[in-house]
Symmetry: C2
Subunit: 338 residues, 2 copies
Amino acid sequence: MPRTSSRSRVTSHEVALKAGVSQSTVSRVFSGRAGLSQATRERVLAVARDLGYKPNAIARSLSTRRTRIVGLVSSHMTNPYFPTVLQAFTQRLHELGWKVLLLSAGKSEDVDELLPEVLAYQVDGLVIASGSHGRRMTQEAQRQGLPVVLFGRYALDSGVSAVSCANYEGGREVADAFLDAGHRRLAYVGGLEDTSTNLDRRRGFIERLAERGVSDCRVERGIFTYQGGYEAARRLLESPQPPDAIFCANDIPAFGVLDAARDLGVKVPEELSVIGFDDIPMAQWSGYSLTTVRQPVEAMIEASVGLLLEHIETPGAGSVVRFLPGTLVWRRSARLRR
Amino acid sequence: MPRTSSRSRVTSHEVALKAGVSQSTVSRVFSGRAGLSQATRERVLAVARDLGYKPNAIARSLSTRRTRIVGLVSSHMTNPYFPTVLQAFTQRLHELGWKVLLLSAGKSEDVDELLPEVLAYQVDGLVIASGSHGRRMTQEAQRQGLPVVLFGRYALDSGVSAVSCANYEGGREVADAFLDAGHRRLAYVGGLEDTSTNLDRRRGFIERLAERGVSDCRVERGIFTYQGGYEAARRLLESPQPPDAIFCANDIPAFGVLDAARDLGVKVPEELSVIGFDDIPMAQWSGYSLTTVRQPVEAMIEASVGLLLEHIETPGAGSVVRFLPGTLVWRRSARLRR
DNA sequence: CTGAAAGCGCTTACAG
DNA sequence: CTGAAAGCGCTTACAG
């Protein structure tokens, strides 16, 4: 059996030899530099095609000190968008000629540990699309002068650029929606306590309620799973003064809330309105039909990639935090203004 | 404003200079070679720590001709496990000291186009965890002598290693479960027509039915979304001879089937049993409580990574296709044997 | 328009 | 146990 082990590994030297030019010339053809006769360019290209030559990106990276690789930090746990976001990021970056080195871990400590290893691969920038990962990581990256963009959250004090949904305004809009529909017994079921996302959605909601004269709102904290939402809803709905409207900081727990309501025989939206946040694909499943605030994911990704590449092009420029407005999408889980 | 642009970029030379040793010695310390005095090793390590030195993995890769990067091809569309699988793969590979270059695209043509670019980064191996991506890609990789493992599907003729769930046997088990529970009017709602996964699940199901004397089974083809499942179920349940048991090739469409049944007032599991395949996390949500065949994802990932690394270590060895058994997980969506 | 040569930052025989 | 040197496969001033 023949050992097909040896990867093809055609180098520019071999191409040069066959094409009767110098190695530099081959390199010039592939690095797209101007000032090459049409004839040599074509000859080199032809030989390269015959030989199956493609420049070694690792060698190129070493030489140019640019890898055109972006590190993408994501964590399944705290990000219900995980699949969409990951896919959209990689696609966008691929379109622009970049590659993506994935850094994904369950626990944030793991990510902190992994970061140096990823930096060793000389990524040109870092996108952190993970709800709660260590500022240690962000700081470390900053310290090294590595361009960083936070996605879906921000850290104003840190001088790190970020792109986030306008969560505060989204929370306010939900408050208005509930009050306009005549709801007065309100509850908030919210996510991780230390994320800007959760904090802003809650603050927007509660402040707007207060502005319109509703000062008490039950709050269930630390709820970001289906099961958590389910249990929180049971507690709320079986209490002496059950709410008639629940705002969930994320869609996933909102599904738990809806299922709990169904199991308890609480009619949605006649007796209970539920509004989520995110608008993940399942929100439109007919089993849930969740009214929710849609994050403009595509635009957020576009903006993040744009920001990151700007930072890579012009290092030392100031940081910017961008908030993109969400949209309340009406479905059947919440009662309309009458 | 100081231009903090220049990434730190400490090199082994600078460490060597400060530690009063040669650059080779610094390199030896970090490449973990034996035969270094304890004293120099410690001195070098101390200086390196002070300077924040970490070996440049790109340079190392160029020199060793090994990048320790694995390319991971995944597609959201056709793989309901996308998040889990991606996360588990990266974590496992990280544990073993590998990095992951992500290749994810919506359309398979995009992936085919992207492959050469990823190969340019000299990945040491490729995991293809995508339902339906081009054999063109697989062939191209094989041709270059690049170790490849297919995940969640296989291609027996191609000489490519693969790890898959024992889908045929899973299909048989579902057939037995339905028949044992007394069901006789059966239907199969299945995924992409050209995937081994879908084909094997269907074949297992239908062959086992036939063995036990049930020869007619309605088949709905090309159903792999929630909406598709929902509509297929409506067609089936509103037909003159509605089935009393539906086997879905994947969990996601099974949720659509369950919601359609609910909307039509068909009682599950009294009037209709539904069994899915995959056991994604949502299957245990109380709103669905889906009986389903669990793919042993962790074991499959472990096996895939193991196979890939074996192939990387010993190129030229034969390919192997491994089938890991699934487990039928009983929940409330299907009636038990009486 | 093209070539010779230095250099990117490592690893690793080869000496000693 | 350690150093000098070649080499990994490119890019890119520098000449001409």
